[in-house]
């Protein structure tokens, strides 16, 4: 495989976990910029042009709920998990742990299964 494909494939790999990472930080209400900073602090930097539309899409799907707050100056839209979102987060977390364990086994010894 050409090495030029590596960044695109790495991006695709990251894209798969963006939703789970986002949900993990929305058990308490957060607005977009604050959420992005929180994710970046954990080493999961997500482009702003990707994260903010994602929040709206997840809200449209009923995974998140939101409200406008103006108590800190400029009006900000705060997002938090809905009941469906909490169930989805639990389910995705289990899926992630399963995948993580499976990938751990697959990648043990540099990806060779020893046979």
């Amino acid at each position: 495989m050409a090495h030029g494909d590596t960044p695109a494939l790495a991006l695709e790999l990251r894209r798969g976990v963006i939703v789970l990472a986002t949900l993990s930080q929305l058990r308490l209400p957060r607005y977009g910029y604050e959420l992005r900073q929180a994710l970046a602090d954990y080493g999961m930097a997500i482009e702003e042009g990707t994260l903010y539309p994602l929040l709206r899409r997840l809200e449209t799907q009923g995974v998140l709920k939101s409200e406008w707050r103006t108590n800190e100056g400029a009006p900000r839209r705060y997002y938090t998990l809905s009941a469906d979102g909490r169930r989805l987060f639990k389910s995705l977390t289990e899926t992630w742990h399963g995948l993580n364990e499976a990938m751990g086994r697959l990648l043990a010894n540099g990806g060779s299964d020893g046979r």
């Binding site: 990707t50 400029a74 009006p75």
Partner: protein, 304 residues
């Protein structure tokens, strides 16, 4: 050259370019949220550079945010008229249609030819876009409900084939003995002179068409018995279809079909249209045959 835009103006223009691509009901809400977020993002960007936010930093930040088209597409699931997997098929159909229309352009009267041809090509493209849009709309509405249904390309509809055999038989009688058929259904009245064949056409050219129709009926009978197509039968089918098309072209150039001039004109126009349809159909069949994925050898031996 006008004054360069300031930070607020750049943000406003960017937001305008994004939200005008969104569904109307989302625009105001997204614009309000995006304005606040972009201000914070750009302030953060300037702070990380240890500078005060200015138009240059804002422009770089907005470009990093993404092209408005890309950002807008992330806010909702846009309706795609021609899905990427259909683009090749659309292009092919548009090209073939344009070539057919160009080939037929000599039939258009000379003074208005180029204008008419352009209109016909636009109409063809419009029809294609509408067709793909309807398909895409149906697929979008049916998400999760329209399960894939396996269709065997080689399986023959026996009822359909028998119906076509019947139609060929009726066609041979109707075209071969129209006077007899007309008198049977009109209590013994004679066929109008308007529908009297040219003698040369009836005695020499029409039997050739009937011979090919009989061959097609035999092919269909074989298919009814076998129940499946195979490569040889497909080639025979396309060959017969092309042969019928060529015979119809021969009818065009070899003389009159009917004695009456008016009837003859209508008949020749209809024959041209049918020949065109036959060639298009044969072309599609050949194209599909070329693009056919061959079955594994063992499966091929079972089906041939």
């Amino acid at each position: 050259m006008g004054d360069p835009m300031d930070v607020d103006a750049l943000i406003d223009v960017y937001i305008r370019d994004v939200v005008q691509l969104l569904p109307r009901k989302q625009r105001q809400d997204v614009a309000l949220e995006l304005r606040g977020l972009l201000h914070e993002e750009l302030q953060g960007r300037a702070a990380s550079l240890r500078r005060t936010l200015d138009a240059n930093i804002a422009l770089d930040g907005l470009r990093a945010f993404g092209k408005p088209q890309d950002v807008a597409a992330r806010y909702y699931e846009p309706w795609i008229i021609i899905p990427p997997t259909e683009t090749r098929r659309f292009t092919f159909a548009a090209l073939i249609g344009a070539l057919v229309l160009m080939a037929l352009s000599p039939l258009i009267a000379a003074p208005a030819r180029s204008g008419q041809l352009a209109l016909l090509m636009l109409a063809w493209l419009g029809a294609l876009v509408s067709y793909f849009a309807i398909r895409s709309f149906i697929a979008r509405r049916g998400t999760g409900e329209n399960l894939w249904v396996p269709r065997e390309n080689d399986r023959v509809s026996r009822a359909g084939s028998m119906a076509i055999i019947a139609m060929i038989c009726i066609g041979i009688v109707a075209y071969g003995a129209p006077g007899w058929l007309f008198s049977r259904f009109s209590h013994g009245r004679l066929l109008p002179a308007l529908l009297a064949y040219d003698p040369a056409f009836q005695s020499t050219r029409l039997p050739v068409l009937f011979f090919l129709w009989v061959c097609q009926a035999v092919l269909l009978a074989v298919l009814v018995i076998r129940g499946r197509w195979n490569p040889v039968l497909r080639r025979v089918d396309v060959s017969l279809e092309i042969a019928v098309g060529l015979v119809l072209i021969w009818f065009q150039g070899a003389g009159s079909v009917f004695k009456e001039v008016a009837s003859n004109k209508v008949a020749l126009s209809a024959i041209s249209a049918v020949a065109l349809l036959l060639f298009i159909d044969a072309g599609v069949k050949l194209y599909r045959d070329v693009n056919r994925i061959p079955p594994p050898d063992e499966f091929r031996s079972e089906t041939s």
